[in-house]
Symmetry: C2
């Protein structure tokens, strides 16, 4: 069964070890921020630094693993029809809206949406790390400069992640202007539990 995350909102759910999480971009050119915690101890959390350490790349796609701050594999990427994701930047927030869009209405952003969705699991806002930003297009040039371009994902594109431990997942339909080409769209996901 496919669940829908409405535009500019977020969700949190349990993902048991062995199950597959498929995240779809149903309309194309939309970003979804993903964070993960061990269901047994939420102090164990997805880590961009540990993932860059062990995968030896900042460009993660099929075959790559997403690691925790305790050097354990949380998720593996099994399928990826886009091959463009970001693990450098943090979820958009009230503060990033003030900084990057001073003329736009404020919004709690993916950060606020993740904080609200994860609160029932005991996750405090300060414990929201740099997210794995699905479909987000963040090139790094030879000088190290980072830019945010529209995602290359098209309607129906998706990524399949397999849980390697019991997890709590936070997932959003991104609220920022730059990351999705200026239009706010939903994100769909499906959980297939292990047989």
């Amino acid at each position: 069964m496919i669940e829908r995350i409405p535009p500019r909102s977020g969700a949190a759910f349990e993902l048991p070890r062995g199950s597959a999480l498929t995240v779809y971009d149903p309309e194309g050119m939309q970003v979804s921020d993903l964070v993960a915690y061990s269901a047994n101890d939420i102090r164990e959390v997805i880590s961009n630094g540990r993932t860059f350490d062990y995968e030896e790349t900042i460009r993660l796609t099929s075959g790559n693993r997403l690691w925790s701050n305790r050097s354990r594999v949380m998720l593996t990427i099994e399928q990826d029809t886009v091959g463009c994701h970001d693990f450098l930047l943090t979820p958009c927030s009230v503060d990033t809206f003030r900084h990057f869009y001073p003329d736009k209405p404020e919004h709690r952003g993916c950060f606020g949406n993740l904080a609200a969705a994860l609160a029932p699991y005991g996750v405090e806002p300060d414990a929201i790390p740099t997210a794995f930003n699905l479909f987000m297009n963040v090139p790094v040039d030879t000088s190290g400069s980072v830019s945010v371009l529209p995602p290359p994902s098209q309607a129906g594109d998706h990524i399949v992640l397999r849980a390697k431990m019991d997890l709590i997942i936070g997932l959003t339909a991104c609220s920022a202007y730059a990351s999705n080409g200026g239009s706010f769209k939903p994100i769909d996901y499906r959980i297939d539990t292990a047989a």
Copy 2:
């Protein structure tokens, strides 16, 4: 007064708002991992993602700011005689030694050294984030692949960081083989409090 961090060890100390921290590579080609916490609430911690967001680069040097997970500036880089630092990779640890150096003796690494030094301040090991790795040479190629090369720092090279809030700092003399060209050396630092 210059303090010395012996090879393969770490230190933690308070750095009041307005003071300057100078970190020296006294012999050259050595790395020092730096982490920072708000002295008023250690849940506020240095964040590579927030720093990449606001500085719009992964290559940080004089004039750049280091941001917290609460979107506040913790430190500014006032001087930098090297211009080569890493904010992608996590401190070396027992786990990274097992992974990258299976034939070498295990070592608790910068992670273990930071955990021990920060424990008196109430910082748990899980709360050690991706560090700002001074003098560390981590090129990212056009495909996104990350490598670890010897630091370009020479004896006496240094960086000056100014505290923008009351901080607790963790600082190491790196324990890993690849990051410092295979030789373990000390790191020196000096604190100049505001007049």
